[in-house]
Amino acid sequence: MKVEADSAKCCGSGMCVLTDPAVFDQSEDDGTVVVLVPEPSEDHHAAAREAAALCPAGAITVHE
């Protein structure tokens, strides 16, 4: 799995960090998405998918 995030689209809601703080973070400056682990291990796949689905701005893409 490959996780991508578009910080230009991000509105800083924090849903991804809430869903899996091991994979996602928010920048200190403007709170936009930072992908900590672009290729997460399998035990994080479900959470990464949920984060992409929950993202209000559609800023997260998961490539299976």
Partner: protein, 400 residues
């Protein structure tokens, strides 16, 4: 389906816990249906989770307040056309204006920043609970706990003196009450603005370690009117909403003793309890609006440019296509994906703060008051069916 049904916005609740039953019937038959607005405009009402989410995530639907027709009457007369959002009130703007203001604040409301506030919020919560206990064996939970906690927190974050809270609490209540006429609501709103504008000017001279001072010094070249607008928005959104969730959530838990027993037995359920309370009790009960900037296909109908769409968050959160047994309050269910904070680029900026306040608030309340119970029968609790934000006007509670 051409959307031939024209309805008015269902607003009557059968009980304190469920949204108007008509909304559920509409969702099952016509999740997007024609809605006759009080000013005569023929717009739309959306009630399914899928379509509410779709409209909120589609930038062809505008959040600009001057484009909206209101689905609710204000006071005696029909609602007046709203003016464009004041400078800084980015809730009623589209990109790029919305983006400019929101980006200045998103860094302040991250999950990490909010977690760092936990200790201070716990202190505030425990101090309020101590004060409540000192009142004896009964209290109004709204005035003793639910309103002061989020008010104290947002005042501290923004740098608003809490001693001056009467200035904004009374006017916020007035502005959000549906019985209040448009003129009175605007006047109340202007008084809150005057209060914050005065404060912004004070921060320019004597900056502190708070958000308003941060905006003054941000280098983003914001004038006083812009910072005032942002401050008013944060202040109102920051205390009125969480206050109502704390009050209504407590009523819900006290009315569902088996769920409260589960939460008390396993305090780690509190995070999910908060999500489920948000889903089950959707306090933004009406008024979520978007207006089409061009013709857009939604759920098989064409919403024409200029038509306003009223989005029912309570109906969406009870959609059986999204949530199993939606009418049941269940603190163990997967509740993620509820739309109580909205969806799209306008999704609630302060949602992580609201979550932390509720997690700490409910946990401490039920831990410190193990015998907490309602002081009146459920049907005597005064409900905020007359307000844009649902909740309880008061919540008499007792303990021994």
């Amino acid at each position: 389906m051409t959307g031939t049904i024209s309805t008015t916005l269902p607003m009557t609740r059968d009980n304190p816990f469920d949204p108007p039953a008509e909304l559920g019937a509409l969702r099952g038959e016509t999740p997007i249906t024609r809605l006759r607005f009080p000013d005569g405009h023929l717009g739309w009402l959306v009630t399914s989770h899928e379509l509410v989410r779709e409209v909120m995530g589609d930038r062809r639907f505008s959040a600009r307040s001057e484009l909206h027709h209101s689905p609710m009457k204000r006071g005696d007369g029909p609602p007046a056309q709203r003016p464009p959002a004041s400078p800084g009130m980015f809730i009623g703007m589209d990109a790029p204006d919305h983006t400019k203001y929101r980006k200045l604040l998103t860094g302040q409301f991250t999950v990490r920043r909010m977690n760092l506030l936990s200790e201070r919020i716990e202190e505030i919560v425990l101090a309020q609970l101590r004060e409540m206990r000192e009142q004896g064996t009964s209290a109004d939970l709204v005035t003793a706990f639910a309103l002061p906690v989020p008010s104290l927190v947002i005042c501290e974050l923004l740098g608003v003196p809490y001693d001056e809270r009467h200035v904004f609490q009374e006017d916020t209540a007035k502005a959000l009450k549906l019985e209040t006429s448009v003129d009175e609501a605007m006047a109340a709103f202007e008084r809150i603005k005057d209060f914050i504008r005065d404060l912004v000017r004070r921060k320019r001279v004597e900056p502190g370690d708070d958000m308003l001072s941060g905006l003054v010094a941000s280098g983003a070249d914001l004038d006083d009117e812009e910072i005032t607008g942002m401050g008013v928005l944060l202040l109102i959104a920051g205390h009125e909403t969480t206050a109502n969730m704390l009050g209504l959530g407590t009523l819900t838990l006290l009315s569902n003793p088996e769920q409260l027993v589960a939460l008390r037995a396993d305090p780690s359920l509190v995070d999910n309890t908060v999500e489920e309370l948000l889903r089950y009790q959707t306090i933004v009960q009406f008024g979520t609006l978007r207006t089409a900037l061009e013709d857009v296909e939604v759920g098989g109908v064409t919403v024409k440019a200029g038509e306003s769409v009223s989005l029912s968050l309570p109906a969406a959160n009870r959609d059986p296509e999204k949530f199993e047994r939606p009418e049941e309050f269940d603190v163990r269910r997967p509740a993620a994906g509820h739309l109580s904070f909205g969806h799209g680029v306008h999704q609630c900026l302060g949602q992580q703060l609201a979550r932390i306040e509720m997690r700490i608030g409910y946990a401490a309340l039920f831990r410190e008051f193990p015998t907490l119970r309602l002081g009146v029968p459920v049907d005597e609790v005064p409900l905020r069916t007359d307000m844009g934000i649902y909740g309880v006007h008061a919540l008499p509670v007792e303990w021994s």
